[in-house]
């Protein structure tokens, strides 16, 4: 099964050029990782909405809260336990935040 690991929180004031943690890089290099993305801080987001007079742009993330989406990892796993184990391994390298594990309904992973 395909799962998306939604990486939330972490340090909002971390410098944008901070290199990736080695332990994280090692996980992302594994064959079952089918795609990943590290996102710039939530302040760099622009949200697009359909308004009555056409598209409406707002400065900032859709959900305005302390919990922001920081990254995304797509993986292949046998079942939820497999996906949760990868999430737990990634979360151990982080300080704070949380990882939401969501099964993919459909998708286009790398190599597909």
């Amino acid at each position: 099964m395909q799962y998306a690991l939604l990486i939330y929180g972490g340090d909002p004031d971390a410098p944008p050029d901070r290199p990736m943690d080695e332990a994280v890089a090692a996980v992302l290099a594994r064959p079952y990782v089918t795609g990943w993305a590290r996102l710039h801080a939530a302040g760099s987001a622009t949200t697009v909405r359909a308004g009555e007079a056409g598209m409406l742009l707002t400065d900032g993330p859709f959900v305005d809260s302390k919990e922001f989406l920081a990254g995304l990892v797509m993986i292949e796993a046998d079942d939820l336990d497999g996906a949760l184990a990868v999430a737990a391994e990634l979360q151990e390298t982080r300080e704070g935040g949380a990882i939401e594990v969501r099964p993919l309904r459909e998708g286009c992973p790398r190599g597909a």
Binding site: M1, Y3, D78, D79, L80, D81, R102, P103, R105
Partner: protein, 396 residues
């Protein structure tokens, strides 16, 4: 669908096997319900088949395959195709295959930690216990519609999120088994305090099944022993709709046979070298049934349990034993350190200790607070009686 005793004994096993075959609890449940309905019609007429379990599984599987065909989803159900599933002609059912018992896989699926506890409880009662949605709703005092949605959501999450239908590997087993036992004990305690649908009996039934499936797990035996020993006092716990405390209970109403069984099961648990939380609690429950009560040993076991679990409720129970050994003030000193302000038994326990310490005004306030938090009528009547008995010590 209400299942009578005969069906009840087959339900969990048939459903578990079907979940293993079909990979989907919702589909398996619909198919099982259909098969049981067909059996209800045919068995009284044609006689019970030689292997009722296999008959039900094959019949249900055939219905499910038909159903999938109708939905034109068969091609997607690779799991079905991989197992070469075809509708077996019912004529060949005089010699049906033997199906593996997969109830253990099912209970670990239903008690997976990615499901909310209330969903785990409801699913376990529905799938393993065979209770109807209406019965579960009644037991937990929620509208049937709410319970139905809760069950449907949980079943869909199991399917969509890929919650495994498997007994966890060894490194995960202790944690996951603890989660299963917690669900069973929670079901028991719901029944213990309330006495609505017979949840205590359900929990004992589930624990018995678990001891059959995992005969070497000491904590499973210990949980069964704990519940048997508590439940043996059931008939003596209420009198005229009022809760009766252990010391005031009519011991002739205790179920001596069940106490014996509980003690034997506890011995089997201890023989497996378990000293887990349920074994300790069962040993305490056993001590409470003996006369006179050995408060020193009870306090010592609560002390072990409190260190093990860090639970303030356990610490409160230790305080009750300390009150017997050192007096109510020593126990009140322990209670003062606990953060249990929302727990109804904390206030009733504290009230009783204050009463015994002669601190009547404080006792009265504590009884009133306990009354505010109490949910059941027998407990309320008990507390009201106690409150009425509080008299200023002027006459003495």
């Amino acid at each position: 669908m209400a299942l009578d005793a005969v069906f009840r004994e087959h339900w969990a096993r048939v459903l578990a096997t079907l979940v293993g075959i079909l990979g989907d609890i919702e589909l398996a449940e619909e198919a099982a319900a259909e098969a049981f309905a067909i059996a209800a019609e045919r068995w009284p007429r044609d006689g019970e088949p030689a292997n009722p379990n296999a008959w039900l599984v094959v019949t249900a599987r055939n219905r499910a395959v038909d159903q999938l065909r109708r939905r034109r989803l068969l091609a997607e159900k690779t799991r079905l195709l991989a197992r070469g599933l075809e509708t077996a002609p019912e004529a060949t059912m005089h010699d049906p295959p033997a199906f593996r018992d997969e109830r253990l896989e099912l209970i670990f699926t239903c008690c997976h930690p990615s499901l909310a506890l209330e969903a785990q409880v409801a699913l376990t009662l529905r799938t393993l216990g065979g209770l109807s949605t209406e019965e579960i709703a009644l037991a937990f005092l929620v509208p049937p519609d709410t319970m139905s949605k809760r069950l449907t959501r949980a079943k869909r999450k199991i399917r969509d999120a890929g919650i495994p239908f498997a007994v966890p590997p060894d490194h995960q087993l202790p944690d996951r088994l603890a989660a299963v036992l917690a669900v069973v004990y929670l079901i028991f305690n719901e029944g213990w305090g309330g006495g609505r649908v017979d949840l205590a009996a359900e929990a004992i039934h589930l624990a018995r099944a678990l001891t059959d499936l995992m005969p070497d797990e000491g904590e499973v035996l210990a949980l069964l022993a704990l519940m048997l020993l508590h439940d043996a006092r059931r008939a003596a716990r209420f009198r005229d709709g009022r809760l009766v405390l252990l010391d005031d209970q009519d011991r002739s109403l205790w179920d001596a046979g069940q106490i014996d069984e509980g003690r034997r099961v506890l011995q089997r648990a201890l023989a497996r070298g378990t000293a887990g939380p349920y074994a300790i609690q069962a040993a305490i429950a056993d001590l409470h049934l003996r006369q006179p009560r050995d408060w020193r040993q009870i306090a010592a076991l609560y002390d072990v349990l409190a260190r093990r679990t860090g639970s303030p409720v356990v610490e409160m129970n230790r305080a009750v034993a300390i009150a017997e050994l050192e007096g109510p003030e020593a126990a009140l000193a322990i209670l003062d350190r606990l953060d249990l302000g929302q727990y109804r038994y904390f206030h009733s326990t504290r009230a009783d200790l204050l009463r015994r310490a002669g601190r009547t005004a404080e006792a009265e306030r504590a009884y009133r607070r306990a009354l505010e938090l109490t949910r059941t009528a027998p407990e309320r009547r008990f507390l009201e009686t106690r409150l009425a008995e509080l008299r200023p010590p002027a006459e003495g």
